[in-house]
Subunit: 197 residues, 2 copies
């Protein structure tokens, strides 16, 4: 299958490319570090990416920014970042992608464990991650031509916890997280939230 991986140079994206790269024709895309680039917060940039790549069998997104911090210090702009980038950026990959994904193809987005297991500081991120899960469940009822849509909700990744000086023992190895994307890509599930924990 011809598969676009967006966020291909991130922690999870790299592991996805590693997991599916020898099984499929992967086109890595990122904000700044790949040959093909996209700013998912910009619909014109998404349109240009699809025009450049052409028709594909699947899109996998492991991309999107949202702000972590105490609710009392989050600004309107902090909430808007999550809404415009991680949330509507990925929603718009679905909306624009419908014209480029082949029959029986799939699109897989990324939310995160904070959707259902919040922590202090996660209000803006929990909002966005839950929104993606609700959107995905609903969008799966409307996709044309047997296109499937699923959401992977990764646990904290071990490497991310280490980078934030948090306890890595609560984390999931990124290779385990990547398997959920493989399952969404190659399986027949539709409208599911896959907890990669």
């Amino acid at each position: 299958m011809k598969v676009i991986v967006i966020g291909a140079t991130g922690t999870i994206g790299r592991a996805i490319v590693q997991a599916i790269g020898n099984r499929h024709d992967v086109i890595p895309v990122s904000f700044s570090k790949s040959v093909i680039r996209v700013d998912i917060a910009d619909r014109a940039s998404i349109a240009k990416m699809f025009e450049t790549v052409g028709r594909v069998d699947a899109v996998i997104s492991a991309s999107g920014l949202a702000k972590f911090g105490p609710m009392s210090s989050l600004t309107d702009a902090d909430f808007a970042l999550g809404l415009n980038n991680k949330l509507m950026g990925q929603v718009n990959l679905v909306r624009s992608g419908m014209d480029y994904i082949n029959d029986n193809g799939s699109i897989t987005l990324t939310s995160g464990i904070l959707s259902r297991k919040p922590m202090p500081g996660s209000t803006a991120i929990s909002l966005v991650n839950s929104a993606l899960e609700g959107f995905g469940r609903a969008a799966a009822l409307e996709t044309p031509r047997n296109i499937r849509i699923n959401i992977v909700s990764p646990n904290w990744v071990v490497d991310t916890l280490k980078a934030f000086n948090m306890d890595p023992s609560i984390g999931t190895p990124v290779e385990v997280v990547a398997r959920a994307y493989l399952q969404a890509l190659e399986g027949s599930i539709n409208g599911e939230v896959l907890d990669a924990i």
Copy 2:
């Protein structure tokens, strides 16, 4: 308790006022039909409402617009309506309300059954309702002074189904829905999504 009810002239809001009005000091607020008015999509309007009303023990919101329609025909503006109005409008009631809600008070927001039981046409609404539930769970971990926050997720209301010429037998009487708000107001629950079904 002194309780602001926002959306007090709507189908659910009227039932909330009916259910709590003889037990508490209710201040009804709506977009256009009450003495005190608010446009929840406008942070300045929210600030003005709280300045007018002053300190309260609780805020209940049964308000917010979002667009129903096939994903393929929803515009950027349709998605933005839900994000700016029902979602961030209610989120901003929490953010601004923290300065006006008394110790041990509460705030109760409204999502809806489409968060977890979507239907064709519900992508923008399912997104918003799920976002509210994720936000509420997270915000409850950070509220100061024992302020509680909960989300009521109402089933379709019988009267709403009738108004849309849909089968009313799948609906819930609005009096039953109103009881969930009473439970959130007078109980001790925090960070919960109450399914009013």
